[in-house]
Symmetry: C2
Subunit: 428 residues, 2 copies
Amino acid sequence: MNDASEHVRTTPAATEGGLQVDMARLRQDVLDLGQIGRDAVLGLNRRAFSEGDRQGRDWFRQRLATAGLELFQDGAANLHGRLDYDGQRPAVVMGSHLDTVPGGGPLDGALGVLVGLEVLRRVKEAGIPLRYPLEVIDFSDEEGRFGGMFGSQALAGQLTPERIQSARDLEGVTLVDAMAAWGLDANEALTARRDPATIHAFLELHIEQGPVLDRRRIGVGIVEAITGLFKWEVRLKGQPNHAGTTPMDMRIDAFQGLAEFGGEVNRILEEHGGPNSRATIGRVELWPGAPNTIPGQATFSLEVRDTDERVLKALSDASRRTLSSIARRRDLMFEFDVLSEITPTRCDPGLLDLIASEAETMGLDYLRLPSGAAHDTQSMSAVARTGMIFVPSIEGRSHSSGEWTNWEDIEAGANLMLRSVLALAARH
Amino acid sequence: MNDASEHVRTTPAATEGGLQVDMARLRQDVLDLGQIGRDAVLGLNRRAFSEGDRQGRDWFRQRLATAGLELFQDGAANLHGRLDYDGQRPAVVMGSHLDTVPGGGPLDGALGVLVGLEVLRRVKEAGIPLRYPLEVIDFSDEEGRFGGMFGSQALAGQLTPERIQSARDLEGVTLVDAMAAWGLDANEALTARRDPATIHAFLELHIEQGPVLDRRRIGVGIVEAITGLFKWEVRLKGQPNHAGTTPMDMRIDAFQGLAEFGGEVNRILEEHGGPNSRATIGRVELWPGAPNTIPGQATFSLEVRDTDERVLKALSDASRRTLSSIARRRDLMFEFDVLSEITPTRCDPGLLDLIASEAETMGLDYLRLPSGAAHDTQSMSAVARTGMIFVPSIEGRSHSSGEWTNWEDIEAGANLMLRSVLALAARH
């Protein structure tokens, strides 16, 4: 984490007027939580259901208790902080996650939970009368030790007994065992399912994890959609041969097929994609993989994202056509497996307009943009109308100790969340 | 090995007239030796100084003894079979190697030694008077368990005490220990150096290990040169970033740089290379190597071969320029290490003409071509004028159990070697 003091500037005019978060308290929370789960080897490590996660949750429980907020832990081990919750009226819910990747940063997920906590505290302190109860949720295993978005998918009713039983981490530890070590029954996660009628709206604040806001020097992002994706493992098969004895015109070189496809990726995006399209070849394996052998097989990942399902379909079709054509022309065999497919998620236009309107009232510049990363909001969209606020990530850094956001941007984002929640939940 | 009987066709007209090899005997030698050093795991395995190699050498010693040929083992453990050798007159020397790669085939190296043996036997049996003695050499470790071409480099005086002491195989066994286990002192290899005045000419017969002769249905190759090469490890460094959150125009994607270079390889060969040029990218590693992370580094091998040193230099310059330009345009860092550089070797034009003239007399079609693979002839060129004969490799296969050559091509190649040796060594 950067030296926090470097990021303090004077409070911007944007927050003048109306209820505001207690920035000193929020800031201290960020700094305190950032010390929890530090690991000599991995840096900040609050992987789901690890010792770091346990300490982070304990700290959060204490913060809720100190603030006089109600605590509820559901069957998926999600921690809910509640204000005015009565089980009758639907709640305005905020949520994100306290778990991190190994070697993660202090803000990814944590900031959204802490801002939600601060919103509940300020509303309670100010004694604002509420039409709807408020809730802040720390979702379990967003980062994917056991598959990702476990807690929010539990709320959305997207879990199955099979998925719960089969989930295991890279070391082979099962979710069932990891939760049992905490005295929890993983199967109870099925009971965490939430009736959509109990949620008035769901809002998440998160760091962007990308460079767009930082590069454009815009403090607030309003997330219109979370990109869907398809992820393939592609195999081009040629003939492994001696690199010295096989003339160029007698080669069936699998790498050359991959290189040609690599050069076509941008054309495919230009012809069939839109401004939110992304395509990445991140993993390549050549076989046999020796400098003096013509590659007989190239195995590689192709991951393509977009916010529009039809665009994704067009990109998938174009990728397949291009790969087929390259393979045909080069006498290669082409095959692929679909490793995952995620449908894009749109946030609620009405909620986005509400957030935009509050940002305008605050005099904040904002940018409507897509989220290229997955978030709990994605699952929650199945049971609630959702809205999402981004704050800038300096140089787009995330999932690393260099992850940071200027305090003034945190403050502006937190106040925007507070105002948006009040607009939704306060008795006017 | 294929069923040998499949490859027998009628003896071609090409061998009529003059002394000929005893094809039945040569064929039996090939089949017998092909059974020696079989290994349950690795198939045919006569790696240098292994048990298989020992058995192959013992068998060869016996064949020399049976034929009444003189045996000499030099300090590099090369086995020499000799006819009429007197230490005074320079010898016409044939040579190749009995060692194999693990899982090798029955002909690579072995065929050249067996043809040499057969030539000495036939000349001895026929009582042909010789102006120059004849010699056939089984060179130690051509295939590279301890670096490659050890025996022929010893004869050529290219070894150093340091190289001998530091040579070790992939399992960490040193050459010194492997030879000591046979009661040999590896340092004695320095004494194997041969005075150039003792060699009248050096000839090697070898399988092509490439597809050219087989595709063109030509039975004999006359090797004009053995390609030199440069082998680089290239690193393109960009910025690893989240594949979802980083827009296409904010990426510094190391793989995209590699893909572009892959597409430029053929242009570089067309503009700066010749018909013997080859370029291969056989190994690629992306870092971090995750489907959802833009590659921050691409590390890959570039191996370029040609028979002309100036062409190699031009290809090296063009590769560097192209990589620099791609890196500059894409904001990547570019660096490379030279892993090896081998100067091309030209065979002796006079010897090649002599072989070609004998082939014409025999009515054989032949092709002058380069060798893309390394051979003992390469080292021997430092101390002798050299000539090399290729026989076709079916489908270019080599270093595998599928390596094979039609018997009629073996016979034609063996008779061409016999006639060429007689043209050089017989008292006319």
